[in-house]
């Protein structure tokens, strides 16, 4: 599924030219190996390709070796969402093509795909219908989700438990826009 074509036609709330959603790139390398540099061990000229999507506080320079945490401990949160979980629910953003703003759902509330579809249908006042392995969704809309690898998948292919752990966010696309790969 190639998403690049759709971004131009998406209706989202935000200033023209700004991208509301950016992939979460963690700037993990604040411990830049500046062993070759002289004092102080402050490297304020941080590479900003990672930071362009956010506006980090300009005063916080990256300090080598500080805080004193050893490298094997640095990426403990990798693989997990960087948003803190509210309570113990699994909250994911849901967008729908044509809808002006996004919603958030707690996936933990639902026990199955059927329940999730019902919830989404109510939320967006649309009809998504039932899933079949061969034909996908026989309706105007196709629910898709971004998994933890960053790929966009059709909702329903994997067991519910697996979906719960890998779903990062949902997007209800117009069926006609879906390109079967």
């Amino acid at each position: 599924m190639d998403l690049i074509n759709f971004e131009a036609t998406e209706l989202r709330l935000g200033l023209p030219g700004s991208t509301a959603e950016q992939p979460e790139i963690k700037s993990t390398t604040s411990v830049v190996n500046t062993n070759k540099r002289s004092s102080p061990e402050l490297d304020s000229s941080v590479s900003d390709e990672n930071d362009s999507s956010r506006t980090p506080p300009p005063t916080k320079a990256q300090v080598v070796g500080w805080p004193p945490v050893r490298s094997y401990r640095r990426n403990i949160l990798q693989g997990k969402k960087s948003e803190p979980e509210m309570g113990s629910g699994i909250y994911v953003k849901v967008s729908m093509d044509g809808a002006p703003y996004l919603r958030k759902v707690d996936l933990k509330v639902y026990k199955s795909y059927g329940e999730l579809m019902k919830g989404l249908q109510e939320m967006f006042k649309c009809i998504i219908g039932l899933y079949s392995e061969m034909e996908g969704y026989k309706s105007e809309y196709a629910p898709t989700y971004e998994d933890k690898d960053g790929d966009w998948m059709l909702v329903g292919d994997v067991p519910w438990d697996m979906f719960l752990t890998s779903c990062r966010r949902l997007r209800i696309m117009k069926s006609c826009e879906v390109i079967e790969s």
Binding site: K26, S38, S39, G65, P68, R70, I76, K80, S82, P84
Partner: protein, 598 residues
């Protein structure tokens, strides 16, 4: 973590000697010592503590000789303080060696690669001097695959290898160890800069390998053959420590535990399963046969769904390492409810202050707490833990002795309360993550906090300070920290006076590591007479010049004064990284070009 500093036996040699004295005849009148060497050696062989042994060796020449012949384990805290030849000459019968190399700040990338601490020269000498060497424990040493192969093939009775924070080797080196060390009892690989080329090394253990007692490969990333692992675990009946890596699933863990009910320390693999092969209840009995388990670690990805699986063993746990599990406060509380016997607890700050309240209420026997930051470099992340969590723990755990605490805010009042609640601190390391941050309520420096600690906690041996600190902190330390042996300082102090107070006032100081502080030449030189009684001094990004270092080196020939130059060589008069240590081996001959020994 294996203890690197064997200091168990506290027996005084005098007592032992007196008890033997009455039954031994006097030998030749020319002997200064009233009984034969063999008896003295036999008596001294019972002393384990290397500090006690050092004292013993100073009594007289006979005792020196008896001690050197009876010593089986040697501890070398700084590999450059002595040469392998000197060690081999003095101690002819060593079976076990502990060796530490790089300065501690190398853990935080402050020491360039290729700095040194190569283990190979040691192995070369040992291969002829100690062909019966059984144990080698290395920390912050440079170890190559060739060295590991050499080790595996040169020492035929070799039993135990422990590598902590070492670098330079790959899993190929581990293959050599697994293949050749027929009597291996311990393979402990922790937190090393290792080239992980795959898990095949584990399959190199031959069928005849049945003696393993300790196997720790938790920090290796690649998958090992589960089949090989399962067979290995089932034939090693004495296995008591097993620490798996994240690739081992819950299903696989369950199978392994069936083979080793005698296990005392377990590091699990991932504690979550996306596709469960059976109902979760099937896992509930996984631990019920492990009646000897006292330590659990690993627990990667643990969720509320699977965590209850370990509840059956919690009551007898003394050490729980949750520093890889991103638990929230309620998950932790539910878990700790079952863990009343805990002495040591390691956590991530995802548990928050509420989680720490649970620690305070559930773990009255707690002696050690370490709280690590889950996301230390992202300043936009949630708060983690604050002063309030620390205070809660101190109220419920008065036996606390050893603390490492990372936080983003702290107050002087809170630390003073903590010190009052836990006067027995021996290790106190507080890291307020934003450098130079004051008391967030009063906006004052954190001087009074550390002042309270050193005044109240008279047994303090190790201290790490942080936050906005003036010279006052160091005045307090110099005045009160009379048992302090290790001090770590960063982004603190106003003037030379700070460092001078510490050097003048702390009689037991052995290791001083300082970075990014305004201490200069006067401070450095004020310790002229002190450094020979210390293991080492590290100063980086301070105000020290090359001339002062040269002066120190000239006045004290038994110190190695090393300055690390950076490549740009912009300002030759400034000494950016200074490492000073006592040595009987003279200046080192393997220094790389960027290390200048003055």
């Amino acid at each position: 973590m294996p203890t690197m500093d064997p200091n168990r036996k506290k027996s005084k040699p005098v007592d032992l000697v007196d008890s033997v004295d009455s039954r031994v005849e006097l030998t030749e009148s020319t002997r200064s010592c009233p009984f034969p060497d063999e008896v003295l050696e036999r008596v001294l062989s019972l002393i384990d503590s290397h500090k006690d042994r050092s004292s013993v060796s100073l009594v007289c020449k006979d005792w020196y000789n008896a001690e050197r012949w009876s010593r089986r384990h040697v501890f070398i805290g700084n590999c450059y303080s002595v040469s392998p030849e000197i060690v081999a000459a003095r101690f002819p019968r060593i079976r076990s060696v502990t060796l530490k190399g790089k300065p501690r700040f190398s853990d935080f990338n402050l020491v360039p690669e290729d700095w040194g601490a190569d283990v190979h020269p040691w192995l070369s000498v040992f291969s002829s001097a100690y062909p019966f060497l059984e144990e080698l424990r290395l920390k912050r040493m440079a170890v190559s695959d060739e060295s590991l192969e050499f080790l595996a093939t040169s020492f035929h009775g070799f039993k135990a290898l422990s590598l902590l924070s070492c670098d330079g080797f790959s899993t190929d080196g581990l293959k050599a160890i697994a293949s050749h060390c027929k009597n291996l009892t311990e393979l402990d690989i922790q937190e090393n800069g290792i080239d992980d080329l795959g898990g095949h090394w584990l399959s190199c253990f031959p069928e005849s390998q049945t003696s393993l007692e300790v196997l720790n490969f938790a920090s290796l990333n690649s998958e090992v053959s589960f089949d090989a692992l399962e067979k290995l675990v089932s034939r090693c009946k004495s296995l008591r420590v097993l620490k798996l890596n994240r690739n081992i699933s819950l299903d696989q863990l369950q199978k392994l535990l069936l083979h080793c009910p005698q296990l005392m320390e377990l590091g699990t693999g991932t504690f979550m399963q996306e596709l469960i092969s059976g109902p979760v209840t099937e896992f509930k009995n996984m631990f019920s046969n492990c009646r000897k388990l006292v330590t659990v670690s690993g627990l990667w990805d643990a969720t509320p769904l699977y965590l209850p699986v370990i509840y059956p063993v919690c009551a007898s746990l003394t050490f729980l390492n949750l520093s890889y599990a991103t638990l929230q406060s309620s998950e932790l509380a539910n878990l700790l409810f079952h863990c009343r016997s805990l002495r040591r607890l390691w956590l991530l700050d995802t548990v928050g202050d509420k989680g720490l309240e649970a620690v305070g209420s559930c773990c009255p026997l707690l002696e050690e707490l370490r709280v690590f930051p889950a996301d230390p470099f992202d300043q936009e992340i949630f708060l983690g833990v604050t002063e309030s969590g620390f205070v809660s723990v101190s109220r419920g755990c008065p036996k606390l002795r050893h603390v490492l605490y990372f936080c983003r805010q702290m107050t002087n009042a809170a630390v003073a309360t903590i010190a009052r609640n836990c006067p027995d601190f021996t290790h106190f390391r507080l890291c307020i993550m934003n450098p130079g941050q004051p008391d967030y309520l009063t906006k004052e420096p954190m001087d009074e906090a550390f002042g309270a600690i050193v005044k109240t906690c008279t047994k303090l041996q190790r201290l790490a300070v942080s936050g906005l600190l003036t010279d006052r902190t160091f005045e307090y330390i110099g005045q009160h920290a009379k048992n302090m042996e290790t001090l770590s300082v960063a982004f603190a102090g106003n003037s030379d006076l700070g460092m001078e107070c510490v050097l003048k006032g702390c009689p037991k100081l052995r290791k001083l590591e300082i970075r990014d502080c305004p201490f200069g030449n006067a401070a450095l030189l004020s310790g002229l007479t002190k450094y020979e009684s210390m293991r080492s001094l590290w100063m980086s990004a301070c105000n020290v010049t090359m001339n002062a270092c040269r002066m120190l080196a000239k006045e004290k020939p038994r110190l190695n004064v090393e300055v690390m130059r950076d490549e740009e060589g912009s300002d030759d008069s400034q000494a950016h990284k200074v490492y000073v240590y006592r040595s009987v081996a003279g200046p080192r001959r393997d220094a790389p070009p960027f290390v200048l020994t003055l």
